[in-house]
């Protein structure tokens, strides 16, 4: 007869607990299991990033000046200075539209600002989005949904274009800075917007 040691029962029980919890609609998140690793987050001198940037091809120069100084020199507005802070700004400043100012005149700043605007719009259209989620659940497998998926696949064939490259850079930035559940929902909303556009084009 199969006999299992008490110790092994413990492992088995732990595995079952983990799998059960995993089945409870948990959202994955980036946990780096290393208690002795370096402290995460901002640094005293390095600011929000927590790292001194020696070189960044997107910023274009070695040891870039303080973004605030740069902004004042170029008379650009100081919102959404870096991709990292933009994420926090977007999350916390939702609804503070009146105070929102145009971004720094850099591609990264413009992109951040555009996304911030989209985020604000999402706040407005949340209800509609939740209806879409319901539709997604009920329509899964339907012809309508399959057609939409095919449309998405077709869109991705545009690889190599400058638009797609920009999209990849955006994704990279997003992976590094945005992990909140709220932001995940925002991304789903963006997919919903894509669906809406496709729907319009079908009419």
């Amino acid at each position: 007869m199969l006999s299992i040691k008490t110790k092994n029962w413990m492992f088995l029980a732990a595995g079952v607990v983990i799998l059960t919890l995993a089945g409870c609609h948990a959202r994955p998140y980036d946990y780096e299991p290393a208690a002795d690793e370096m402290k995460k987050g901002p640094g005293v001198f390095s600011g929000e990033d927590g790292e001194f940037t020696i070189y960044d091809s997107k910023k274009g120069d070695v040891f870039p000046q303080d973004p605030n100084t740069k902004a004042s020199e170029t008379t650009a507005k100081p919102t959404a200075q870096t991709s990292a802070t933009a994420g926090a700004a977007a999350t916390t400043a939702a609804g503070a539209q009146a105070g929102a100012q145009p971004p720094a005149k850099t591609p990264a700043g413009a992109r951040d600002y555009q996304e911030f605007q989209e985020f604000q719009q999402w706040q407005k259209e949340k209800t509609q989005f939740h209806e879409y989620q319901q539709w997604q659940k009920s329509a899964a497998g339907s012809t309508d949904f399959k057609e939409f998926q095919e449309y998405q696949k077709w869109q991705k064939t545009g690889k190599g274009s400058s638009d797609y490259q920009q999209f990849q850079e955006y994704q990279q930035w997003r992976r590094g800075s945005r992990n909140s559940a709220d932001y995940q929902e925002f991304l789903e909303w963006k997919e919903f917007k894509a669906y809406q556009e496709w729907k319009k084009s079908q009419q």
């Binding site: 959202r27 002795d36 370096m38 005293v44 091809s57 997107k58």
Partner: protein, 353 residues
Amino acid sequence: MLKKKAHIGFTIMALAAAAFIISPASAVDVKISGQINRAALYADDGDTAKWFFVDNDNSSTRFRFTGSNDFENDWKVGLVWEVEMQSDPSNKVNMDDDGSDFGDVNFDERKMEFWVEKWGRMWLGQGDTASNSSSEVDLSGTTVASYSDIAAVGGGFEFQKNGVGTGITVGDSRSNFDGLSRRDRIRYDTPRWAGFYASGSAANKNRWDAAARYAGDFSWAKFAAAAAWADFGTSSDTVDGQFSSSASMLFNFGLNLTLSYATQDKAGKDPWNIFGKIGYQFLEKHAASVQWARTENLSAKDDKGDSLGLAYVFSPWKSVEFYGTYYLHMLDRDEGSDPDDINVFMAGGRVKF
């Protein structure tokens, strides 16, 4: 001859394919970061009591360079070069050390590796083996003060019996058996799926290990867990293999629970360790915890090394933490009376720069 030509042709085709796949970089960055973690430590072994000024080995003073390079078609390559610099490490100070430091302060390499990412991530160089940290999953927020690596604070102190050293230190009698540590190795991590991923690595002396990890956010709590198996290859005459595991849960209202269990397949002894921690995070900037750990059969068959720990961490700013921790280390020997308990108190700060 034909075979040779075929080889050359194949090589040229492979290089052409590589050049096509690995096209010019679209984003490059190089960064430097570091931290200083210093503390005052007081220890009383029942015979002698002393103050020390130490580098907190829970998360040592160090700096690192990181760099990464994005390529088209989702290829990414990066590197990590991390060194630590400890003066009087908290795991090594002892009563024979009169505070004159452990000779010269050296740079010790922690990580020197590069990685390639596309379908998962592959590392080559010195760095974490797959099993490293599998005993140390901990969401308490007090890891800078204490976690399952008990010997990181006061590990060098020797148990005394009637004023005579037993020859057994705190570090000799307890361990969390945390995998193969950092080694010169090759490692692969699978892509993440629903919060799960698996890793495997192979190191010098025929050592290899495999691990599975999970991290999930249930909206009402966060949960993380890891389990690993490590084979010591020819690196040890007595240890064959080691199982290590840990799990931690942090509820949104601040309560957190952490457990760790590990065991070693060691000739004649089979030592094991169990660790538990209950913590609470409050008022955004505070975290406190109580922990207990027992290691059996490590210093000798049937020896029991118990450690009780308290920890408190205050983070007034995101880049700065102040902490205090207290440990009561006990050793229960199978033969004769037990040696005196060792009390260790440590308070300090970690500043990231």
